[in-house]
Amino acid sequence: MIWAGVLVASAACYALKLAGLSLPQAWLGNPRLQRTVPLIPIALLAALVGTQTFSTGQHLVVDVRAAALVVAVIAVMLRAPFLLVVAAAAATAALLRFL
């Protein structure tokens, strides 16, 4: 089942890239579409941050992941590189569980 999702999603992502290079400019040139599409990653990434920090399955929870997110926010504000942001968050969670 995971394989099917991986392959279908990969095909969809490739089709979107190919469409951009192939379709006539006018099809994707609609100004409202041009303004809206860049908002989608902002909303989805923010939703992912929220749901993956504060839930387990369908239950809302506050656990060490919230502390890890605070550390990640600080790291991002200090303009730390990507890997450091992720590692700092993971280390925070690991450390708090260990204590």
């Binding site: 392959l7 992502c13 490739y14 989608i40 929220g50 990640a72 890997l83």
Partner: protein, 220 residues
């Protein structure tokens, strides 16, 4: 330094930075329960970071792979607009377009459209694409193999890694008031509906909400 060499050096730098970021993707994907082959397949075939993180993030949180696939495709929609901007610069057709399409992502677009000379823009696109594709897949393999060797990735806090990864991808897009407001509203909406719908579905609700906002409500 001639501009060509400067472009290749920058391309390699971007490739190395994303290789490091791919290590975290390989680790998160493996910790989410995807096999080594599935993890590597995502980096080879999907090759667009935020979408890959979204798919494994949803699966790791217990959501259906189809909800993850939908989120991945929605996140990939911006690549269509990048392609639109690049098509007049690259002027590719046939087999070259098939290959070039795969490389249409954030980094290659940013590198290509930053040049005044179209020939340099094309060089920037192809060199960034090749460096990124190589090191992105290498990094994924390293991260997946390292995590594969662990018995319990939770001990290393890897379950806390995806939100940090999403945050790091989000941060550069929040330089103005409207995106920040959208991000906060989206996170609140997703958390609010979460107890009432299957895992992964909050993302789709948020996607519909932002599409309605952008296409219908917003003025100007």
């Amino acid at each position: 330094m001639p501009p060509q060499r400067a472009i290749m050096r920058d391309a390699l730098g971007i490739g190395i930075a994303s290789g490091a970021y791919a290590i975290s993707f390989g680790a998160i994907s493996t910790a989410a329960g995807l096999s080594l082959l599935q993890t590597c397949a995502l980096s080879v075939l999907m090759f667009t970071g935020a979408s890959q993180f979204a798919l494994v993030g949803v699966v790791g949180a217990g959501g259906s792979v189809w909800a993850g696939a939908a989120a991945a495709a929605l996140l990939g929609s911006r690549n269509a607009l990048y392609g639109l901007r690049l098509s007049s610069l690259l002027r590719v057709s046939g087999l070259r377009r098939i290959v070039a399409s795969h490389f249409v992502i954030d980094e290659t677009t940013a590198m290509a459209i930053a040049r005044d000379d179209p020939a340099l823009g094309r060089l920037a696109f192809w060199s960034t694409g090749l460096a990124l594709f190589t090191l992105w897949n290498l990094g994924t393999l390293v991260g997946a193999l390292a995590t594969h060797a662990l018995s319990n990735p939770k001990v290393l806090g890897l379950d806390a890694a995806p939100p940090a990864a999403f945050l790091a991808l989000l941060a550069p897009r929040l330089r103005a008031r409207e995106p920040l407001a959208i991000a906060i509203a989206a996170a609140v909406l997703a958390i609010a509906v979460l107890p009432f719908v299957p895992a992964g579905v909050p993302l789709l609700i948020v996607a519909v909400a932002v599409a309605v906002y952008g296409m219908v409500w917003r003025r100007g």
